[in-house]
Amino acid sequence: MEVFINLLVNGVSTGLLIFLLAAGLTLIFGLMSVLNFAHGGLFVWGAFSGAWIFKETNSFFLAIAGAAAVGIVLGWVLERFLIRPVYGNHVRQLLITLGGMLVLSESIKILWGPNPIRVNLPGWLEGSYQFDGIIIIKYRLFVIAVGLLLYLALWLLLSRTQIGLMIRAGVLDKEMVQALGINVKGLFTFVFLLGAGLAAVGGALLAPYSGVVFAEMGMQYAILAFIVVIIGGMGSLQGSALASLIVGVAGAFMAYYMPDLSLALNMLLLAIVLLVKPTGLLGEKGGAI
């Protein structure tokens, strides 16, 4: 029982971190059919800059806010200088975002060196809670709380605000949205920056969670996020949330019982989804939320 609950908590917290990465990916794809291979680069930049700010200021709140700001600035640079010039050309978009990924993760190595960096937990999040002999690590609960909060905020943004309405409509029919006088490119920039910020926050939250950060983890997590986005259905936020939890929890259990096969399990899930329902669990036509 104790193992079960622990694995569940692990899985849900990892799943929510993956969700922060997948949310931006899926919305960006839904709105513009741009699959951003550089998204993992924003994640790893969030992790490093968050860890660095935390070390310098000893304020975890500043670390997360700073990471978000770094993610948004880098996202702006990516959108403006890499993605917009090849707008509408899918092949070149794919190719160029992969180049963006390379430059982002290599520049990490230039700034912080090629070796992994240790990251400490903030003092007030160290330790664990005990319920009836079940030990739950505080920081994991914190990650779950922040993840749920951000999911809720995102859901409110999409379902209750005017810009959210525009985004949902844009995912459904981009041309018609323009015909209603809405600037889709501006909307896209907004979504891109939002996604970039979320990815960076995800990275910043992950850093103390895994205790160590390294440049290659951007690609590792990006691949998980890609898998999640496909399983959940491209363009669907809820689908991504659901798939993130599935992948996170399944991964946690696999890592415990069959550690060598966890990526293989995800690939298996992916293969099944692609074969049975290529549009994902909550398919493309369902809308953004």
């Binding site: 949902r168 029919d173 949205v177 006088g181 889709v184 809308g287």
Partner: protein, 234 residues
């Protein structure tokens, strides 16, 4: 002075030369109908006006302002409402959300227009919270027209509203469009000659990307030769 004026438009889709020098004008307060067989370039003409398929040469003026060469959302904000072929529903959005979206960047007062649309199409009020993808074909068309009317200001482009609808529904829709003439100018693309000839004031006929004929609607009804040649009506 015409409200909308197209001057010698040339539009390519990929390597295909679709519009080959299209000139026409739409007078304020009229219903102007654009006829022509499938593939003649009618839809492309509307899409070129909206800026989806920009013309490589020629110009478009709306209220004496040049609107060719600017982005679609800016063209829309000049006051042109657009009802695409197949309605362009945001299927996962409700009727309410769809109409709110129409008001978001609408030019001018929308409250009054909204009310008038509710009077004209009471069904929309009835299915206010229904997902637009679940509406019937006729209701979708009403929503598409209401959305364009509320969003626009002075001109509506409507692309084949009768497509796929039952004759009774077409009849109803035509009455509504005729009523809308009191408030707005309409450029209508239609294959259904009987229906369009009842409500149209002026007509243009397109063939192979060119305007081949134009005139007053009542003259067309008597012009059996033109009807047969271009519209296939005996």
């Amino acid at each position: 002075m015409s409200l909308l004026k197209l001057d010698n438009l040339e539009t390519y889709l990929g390597q295909y030369h679709i519009l080959q020098g299209v000139s026409m004008s739409v007078e304020k307060g009229s219903i102007t109908v654009l006829f022509g067989r499938n593939g003649a370039g009618k839809t492309t003409t509307l899409r070129t006006i909206m800026g989806f398929n920009p013309a490589t040469s020629g110009s478009i003026h709306y209220r004496d302002q040049k609107i060719s060469g600017i982005a679609t959302h800016l063209i829309s904000r000049k006051g042109i409402g657009y009802v695409p072929e197949n309605q362009g529903m945001f299927s996962a959005l409700t009727v309410e959300e769809t109409l709110n979206l129409a008001r978001a960047k609408s030019s001018g007062e929308t409250e009054e227009k909204m009310e008038w649309m509710m009077d004209l199409f009471p069904d929309l009020k009835k299915f206010w919270n229904k997902k637009s993808g679940l509406l019937s074909g006729g209701q979708k068309q009403m929503l598409a027209i209401a959305r364009a009317y509320i969003n626009g200001d002075g001109l509506l482009l409507i692309d084949e509203p009768s497509k796929g609808l039952s004759p009774i529904m077409v009849e109803k829709l035509m009455e509504s469009i005729l009523k809308m003439k009191e408030k707005t100018t309409i450029l209508l693309v239609e294959q259904n000659f009987l229906m369009a000839s009842e409500i149209g004031d002026y007509f243009y006929i397109m063939d192979d990307g060119k305007i081949v004929h134009d005139g007053w609607m009542q003259d067309l009804k008597e012009d059996k030769e033109t009807c047969q040649k271009y519209l296939g009506i005996a």
